[in-house]
Symmetry: C2
């Protein structure tokens, strides 16, 4: 159940109630692809860095360790020891981007596993079944994510099929939630808007899927090659067509600046691999731009990554020490940078929520964006 | 200052007072080669797993980030944020095992860096100067560690040079400790007994170096290829020749069984890379033998690595989850195994101290050894 607490322009400040607790929005979900955040970050660590929602990947977990294993272990929450909300994606995006040779049919997608090459079939029903086995809080609908440079005619046909798949997802999820051995019988389902960069397709699709009265709606297929301006243009067009009294999730986005802009357009759920991936490469976020800790100028720098930051890295360690760890290829260096970056994102969302509540989101956004551009 | 609290047979229960606090012995020092424990373990983590002493490698830190950098950052304690004792080795072992082309002369060793190939010279004075810059609690003397299969004549000449080097180390350490800009003016120096597997050379060397009245004495050059029985034979011969009222340190040893046997022969300082290296490969210690968590039989095992263990891994996570992380090459899997193994070693030393205090060390050792042989 989503409760809209406050609007400031188009920005939404909400509360999303789930069986695993309340999510304060706007929220950034921390990506733990294979039931773990890359960079040696445990779910115990997540409790310390302000994580509200963990996101895991259906495709990866289906391939390894297998969703049946996770089900036998009591579901993802018990497996990875995390009692707060978990969102699982549908597997669709990985099927289209990672898997080998694939064939898209009306019934679903035939493809080869990227781990061992074995043939797998995944359609709407299979995706729901796997996500039901994983027992996440929120399941995502199985969709096709067409390339942002795909021909309009292809995108039109793809989106129509995605709509038909969404009906099948909804039916299958209802059936699974009614089974006695289903771990989470309150599993929620979010639909996904597609349509590449074609506003008319996007809008028509949004109008169709909002009729299904799902638990939330995502905008998919952005941040996959188009410019930031195109992304904002699509959001301007499509977010108003999605229900304001439901979560609005922009999948796979993005930079802190992207998030600030998307919140201003009514988005309140985000996820992205940037903070963990950049952290593993020694690139860390601050309110004055990103730092590359490999840079020689940090060799003798006794300051934390960001002064005043309360993350586990900044509370103890200097830029000089973390730089040394990165140069010496010590895993601890990556871990500290990832912890910092995730904390930075989670903390940014907290500031965003405060600004919306205070009714000064536009001013807040402007100030933050100008800080990021400083590039210390 | 070393205080012998209790003897039980030859086993010593002591307290070693340093400027960075008291070390309860027998103690296992946790190896953090490049000022960090491999496996993404921070000094904050060390506080939680019962670590008393951290050990860093002089050669590695001299090469990267450079001991001058560490000195400018206020010494190792400040650099890595650890206020308890640190022992640094002399660099000798790495020079002889890691470095490229090398030439041993009376003045010291000429060799090439293993990182960038640049020529480096290290003799007793240089080793002391580097360790003084690092500002560890305990410095180790610069020695040659001859191969356990070296000819007796070579070992004899090598040990004589090591003795001459030890005098130079002592003089240089005294000079450095008196300089006004030395960070730790109370830096201690341990001498190292050598002699490969030749008992007569070992004994004569021990008798010579004990005359120097150093802060502690190590037995070096063992666990480098000889059998466990040969190692115990050498310890039986040489430990009684070292001062009982000083720490006795067996360098680079070893398995839990090795430690139990060496304690029984009067050794009370240990260090070894086994727990961290094995942990990174998914091999974990328990009181019923070592487990290989890659083994398929742990796929659905909900138990912790060891029932009742209070380490950060066992308090939360199952064998099944850790196995999944290892298989998926998630760094978190390595981290949890390393934390468990270091905790296991540190906790074993605590049990050893309790058994000596209770005066039942022999019975305790027998029981522990039979448990390890179970191999669960």
């Amino acid at each position: 159940m989503y409760k809209l607490i406050k609007r400031d322009g188009n920005a939404k400040r909400g509360e999303f109630h789930t069986v695993h607790g309340v999510i304060q929005t706007p929220v950034f979900m921390n990506v733990g692809t294979a039931a773990a955040i890359k960079g040696a970050v445990s779910t115990e660590d997540l409790q310390q860095i302000g994580t509200q929602v963990e996101l895991s990947n259906t495709y990866h977990l289906h391939v390894r360790p297998g969703d049946q294993v996770v089900k036998k272990m009591g579901g993802l929450h018990k497996f990875m020891v995390w009692d707060k909300p978990i969102l699982t994606d549908s597997g669709g995006f990985q099927v289209f981007s990672l898997a080998g040779l694939r064939k898209i049919k009306e019934e679903g997608v035939y493809f080869n596993s990227h781990v061992d090459g074995r043939k797998i079939f995944m359609g709407p029903e299979q995706s729901m079944q796997i996500q039901s086995n994983l027992a996440s809080t929120i399941a995502m609908a199985f969709d096709e994510c067409p390339s942002s440079v795909a021909e309009k005619e292809y995108v039109q046909r793809s989106v129509e099929r995605t709509t038909r798949w969404l009906h099948r997802c909804k039916d299958e999820m209802a059936r699974l939630n009614s089974l006695p051995d289903t771990i989470n019988q309150h599993q929620m389902l979010f639909g996904i808007n597609q349509g590449a960069i074609y506003e008319d397709i996007r809008i028509e699709h949004a109008q169709q899927i909002r009729e299904l009265d799902l638990d939330g709606y995502a905008v998919g297929g952005l941040a996959v090659g188009e410019s930031h301006e195109e992304m904002y243009r699509i959001l301007d067009a499509v977010v108003p067509e999605l229900p304001v009294d439901k979560p609005t999730y922009l999948m796979g986005v993005g930079t802190p600046a992207n998030i600030l802009e998307a919140v201003d357009r009514g988005v309140d759920f985000f996820d992205c691999v940037y903070p963990s991936r950049n952290g593993r490469h020694g690139h860390v976020y601050t309110n004055h731009g990103k730092l590359n800790l490999f840079n020689a100028k940090y060799e003798l720098d006794p300051k934390p990554i960001e002064e005043g930051c309360q993350c586990p890295a900044c509370r103890h360690y200097s830029r000089a020490y973390i730089r040394h760890l990165l140069k010496a290829k010590e895993m601890l260096g990556m871990r500290l940078c990832v912890l910092h970056n995730l904390y930075f994102y989670n903390h940014l969302m907290e500031e965003i929520r405060d600004a919306i509540e205070a009714g000064n989101y536009k001013a807040f956004k402007k100030e933050k964006l100008s800080g990021f551009e400083n590039n210390a």
